[in-house]
Amino acid sequence: MDLPDDATARRAREIAGAHAGRDGALLPILHDLQAEFGHIPEAARPEIADAVNISAAELHGVISFYTDFRTAPAGRRSLRLCRAEACQAMGGAALWREVLAGLGLDEFGTTPDGRLTVEPVYCLGLCACAPAAMLDGEPLGRVTADRLSAALAGAAPC
């Protein structure tokens, strides 16, 4: 969602307001913000810091600590490939290289056309059907590069 800064700030205030009175509300607020904006917009920060009564520095400390929180929008689709041990035992490392090469990426990130963001994930709990991945939130087991290409060619969610 692309909004001017003041509209973003207003929306951030509303989101934070929905958690008023909740103990330890910061992570739920950040999750809600990211669900709506796809990342944590800069313009939302002062509102959030104010709502949970912490400094801008403390807020930055929290946002930067957790891998999930983005400071910039990701690609339109999301692929998370597991790189942990159980998937390595089933060829996960080679699959990772093959997938990145197929997309023309040197390392994980977003394709130049903004279509897809590829990221590593350390375990999806699908260790009995490794290697595993998550494509736009849908779990995939016994992944091969061919199966992934087929899934990526499928309809993207709106």
């Binding site: 103990d23 041990e85 089933m90 375990c123 260790c127 009995a128 779990p139």
Partner: protein, 510 residues
Amino acid sequence: MLRLFLPRDAAALALGAEDVARAITAEAARRGVEVTLVRTGSRGMIWLEPLLEVERDGIRQGFGPVTPADIPALFEAGFDDHPSALGPVEDIPFLARQTRLTFARCGVTDPFDLDAYRAHGGLAGLDRARAMTPAEIVQEVTDSGLRGRGGAGFPTGVKWRTVLEARGPRKYIVCNADEGDSGSFADRMLMEGDPFALIEGMAIAARAVGADRGYVYIRSEYPHAIAAMERAAGIARAAGLLGAAARGSGAAFDIEIRVGAGAYVCGEETSLLNSIEGRRGEVRAKPPLPAHKGLFGRPTAVNNVLTLAAVPAILAQGAAAYARFGLGRSRGTIPIQIAGNARRAGLFETGFGLSLGEIVEEIAGGTASGRPVKAVQVGGPLGAYFPPALFDTPFGYEEFDGAGGLIGHAGITVFDDTADMGALARFAFEFCAEESCGKCTPCRIGAVRGAEAVDRLCAGDTGALPLLGDLCETMRAASLCALGGFTPYPVESALRHFPEEFGLGRAAAE
């Protein structure tokens, strides 16, 4: 009326269960057959997923793995004779050999059907606990010998007694569902397949320690488990199991589902508490123990999903019935997760005491690739690699400690002979460096230097060996939590059992 059962567990979905469900609905409509399709959790036989079951004369007959293309033929054959037929599901050796206490209902019932939960033994434990004093509940759990299933193995009854005796205006039950260890998926399966068992366990724990609020902290990598727990909590609340004056007992208890944000270290209990409080997931120095000063500075019982989910059966059947299973000081059952390169990968709940070799060779059937087993890593990224030479080690807390490892959350990742042990040792350090919270120096710096030392060693510089030994010693002795403290387990076990892969003779690695 045709009654079919098909899992909605994330692993089943990852293998195409949703397409199978759609095919069933379409085929039933085409034939004008009335079908009840019950979506369950998974039985844990992941190599057979999607595992479709049909109920005939009260017996569940299995078919698996099935694809959408199999469905018309299955209807045509009246769900009888088909190449994917497995016979009665509970007679499949992998399942028949188990002792399912914690996972008794997983894969059997609709996870959101509270009546089915009760009909299959659910809520009997809570009913019994309601007639007991908190001290009696704590004693029952102590007598059962239940220990923390998250990996630490601390006696649950002792922890609960500490919280019960702690004074505070408010106490908390926190369920650690931040199951980040590769090779582990039992928490996920339980939350998706039998969420009421966890809720019941938390309600009993709350009564035992005098807590009125609970949190379930689930990692964000588990969207299906999060949705299942949210839904089950709503149903439990509507039924009066949670909420103000829960179910006429007079004691209010409610839970809230909290979602992690991609930090492995938040599986450590004190960083988990910081994360719920809205802080960076940094580890806290202990003491004070969470039991004295935990969430928001109040007395808090932090327990793993499997620990809490074991409690209803203990209360329902009695401590002695649970403690009857097991080995030495490891009492009861343990849901072992067989992962990675295994022919029969999945969840196997059994009393402690099977040998590692029985689990890997007999139950798992060796590797999926058909090649020889080279090593298994037990207990996640912080667990040791065991070569086949140690496969006589019995599955128990003390027994694994004695063999230079740990059982952790009981995940076993199988590797075949193509595994690169040097690369895996390096990965252990890389992972620690990536996930370190940064609070303590041995972990934050040691992990980076450790990866460099492994690189030097593998490049032929044996001078890096003493440095690696020193680093591991420092990390083990001086890290604040298990992330830095246990990373030496995979590294040193790989080095000890496979020195030639680091360009060393056996004598050098000792």
